[in-house]
């Protein structure tokens, strides 16, 4: 057989994904962060009296309904901005990626496998969060389903781009974790976990609108009320996919 026609067995990708699931199960920080924390916060908010009441200050929505998209974005962020870079940078630091690059399996497959397992957790987390919200706390389904779905998909795409960008540029695991940790709180703040977006002063709201996390929360909040995400939020999300995606590809190092 002519060696140049040999292609790596595609079953290898399945094995890589399987191994990433194993590792996620054995080192379940990601599961705690992506599944446990948002659901726990949702339940706590739901149990606080009156959070389910429609509020004039919040444009007729309940505090609970306004917070739900923030927690949904938290599910996405904990996997894409926190977990993904953490794991990938560790793989680079320990030489696992470099070792892989000496096999017929392209190391990009390992990146893809990481994205796949984190996406699966995001889907499970989102379904879980939605189910708890709707069944236990009478959360209304989004009035614009399509807009909501578009918002979630773009939110995931932009935050994976940010995560891969961190994985690409962080010189070591300590930096990746510190960056992830800082972003975690900053983004949650601008997403409105502590101060809901409708209550934010104009300056804060402007910042929130122009960072991907805030734009994602805003787009979901609009869709919940029946409005398609604003052009501005869509532009912000797509632009961040392009910019951070480009930076990730441009600066990614295998060793």
């Amino acid at each position: 057989m002519n060696p140049s026609t040999i292609k790596t067995p595609r079953a290898a990708f399945k094995k890589l994904v399987l191994n990433e699931f194993r590792l996620m199960k054995r080192v379940p920080i990601g599961l705690v962060l992506g599944l446990g924390l948002p659901v726990m916060l949702l339940i706590i908010f739901g149990l606080i009296p009156d959070t389910g009441q429609a509020s004039k200050d919040l444009g007729g929505q309940s505090y609970f309904a306004v917070t739900f998209p923030v927690l949904l974005s938290l599910v996405i962020m904990s996997q894409s901005v926190m977990m993904l870079p953490r794991v990938l940078v560790a793989y680079r630091e320990t030489g696992f990626l470099r070792r892989l690059s000496t096999t017929p399996a392209p190391p990009a497959w390992l990146l893809a496998a990481q994205v796949v397992v984190n996406l699966v957790v995001i889907v499970i987390g989102s379904v879980l969060l939605t189910a708890v919200g709707m069944l236990a706390f009478h959360l209304n389904a989004p009035k614009d389903w399509l807009g909501f779905l578009v918002a979630i998909i773009l939110a995931a795409a932009s935050m994976f781009a940010v995560g891969l960008c961190i994985a690409a540029t962080a010189p070591n695991n300590g930096v990746a974790q510190a960056l992830g940790g800082i972003l975690f709180f900053v983004l949650l703040f601008f997403g409105g976990l502590w101060l809901p977006r409708p209550l934010m002063p104009k300056v804060l709201l402007d910042v929130s609108n122009w960072i991907p996390f805030g734009a994602a929360v805003g787009a979901m909040q609009n869709a919940m009320q029946g409005a398609f995400p604003t052009a501005q939020s869509l532009v912000c999300l797509v632009a961040s996919v392009v910019i951070f995606g480009y930076l990730a590809v441009r600066y990614f190092r295998w060793e």
Partner: protein, 308 residues
């Protein structure tokens, strides 16, 4: 020809780490790349396996270009790197199974694990392995694709003597099946035992390139024999023999350097003249001696110099 490297150069900043290295390896050969730490051995094999882009020179490995045919190359070339680890929470068997899935015609992982003394560790987490076990796993992974060429960088570093012997035996078996092996080492003993041909590298250059015995003969002048004659005799009695190169008196002893069936020739000739050779000692020079002759330094000295 399994591997051919010509005029390879790699520069980091101002340091010429690899400075015009050329060699070729025949199919089914074990080729040793020897030298002290920092000699450029690792960089050389990193270029051969496509991990680094050479600044100049050409490399063909089974007719493939490491830079442009990477996927095809890695399907037939197994690589063992000096420093690479795996996720702590993967089991040995799982790692073998993962790497096995990368190849079309992989080796039997159980057999391979057995040959490397890892059978009992298949169900253990990577984290729990000793340094030597990690090293053996790394060797196993480089061979699991049944490669036509295996490149092993310091494969027995950190192994205890018994484990080292086991790995050597395994490599000899694999070579006998027709696999070409490139072995990077600073262990002279390992090279002497395993290699068909060795390149002695120092400061990015090839100092010598030959079979281990050829290298030793070439550098140290050949075999050395020391004995005490039962009675004095004329030097020419022995120096006229074709096997003898030099004869030297050391007190009562005589030291002869030569080649071929040196001991037989000496004893037979002396016996004809009723002279007995007492206390015959063969002084077998080693690759280490060859290295010292070539560079004026011992390998351990080189390591100490680097520590400073």
């Amino acid at each position: 020809m399994a591997v051919s490297v010509s005029h390879l150069k790699k520069v980091y900043g101002k340091a010429r780490v690899v400075d015009d290295i050329s060699f070729s390896v025949n199919e089914g050969e074990i080729f040793g790349i020897l030298g002290p730490n920092g000699a450029g051995k690792t960089t050389t094999v990193e270029c051969i396996t496509g991990l680094r882009r050479p600044d100049a020179g050409t490399i063909a490995i089974l007719g493939l270009n490491p830079q442009t045919d990477r996927e095809a190359l890695h399907a037939v070339v197994g690589v063992q790197l000096q420093s690479s680890t795996f996720p702590d929470k993967l089991k040995v068997g799982e790692i073998l199974d993962l790497y096995r899935s990368f190849y079309h015609n992989p080796a039997n992982p159980k057999e391979l694990a057995h040959g490397l003394g890892l059978s009992e560790k298949l169900n253990s987490y990577y984290k729990t392995l000793s340094g030597g076990q990690k090293q053996r796993l790394s060797v196993a992974l480089s061979l699991i694709g049944q490669p036509r060429v295996a490149v092993l960088d310091e494969m027995t570093t950190g192994l205890d003597p018994q484990a080292r012997l086991d790995v050597w035996e395994l490599l000899e078996k694999i070579r006998d099946r027709g696999t070409t092996i490139i072995l990077v080492t600073h262990f002279m003993e390992e090279a002497q035992r395993l290699c068909d041909k060795v390149a002695l590298i120092d400061k990015g250059r090839i100092m010598a390139l030959d079979s281990p015995q050829g290298l030793i003969d070439e550098v140290t002048g050949g075999k050395q024999v020391r004995f005490t004659p039962s009675k004095p005799f004329e030097d020419t009695l022995l120096t006229k023999l074709p096997e003898v190169k030099t004869l030297e008196h050391q007190g009562r002893h005589i030291r002869i350097v030569g080649s071929g069936q040196l001991v037989n020739a000496i004893i037979l000739t002396l016996a004809k003249h009723d002279i007995e050779a007492v206390d015959v000692q063969m002084e077998q020079a080693t690759l280490e001696d060859a290295f010292v002759k070539l560079t004026g330094r011992h390998l351990h000295q080189v390591a100490e110099d680097q520590a400073k």
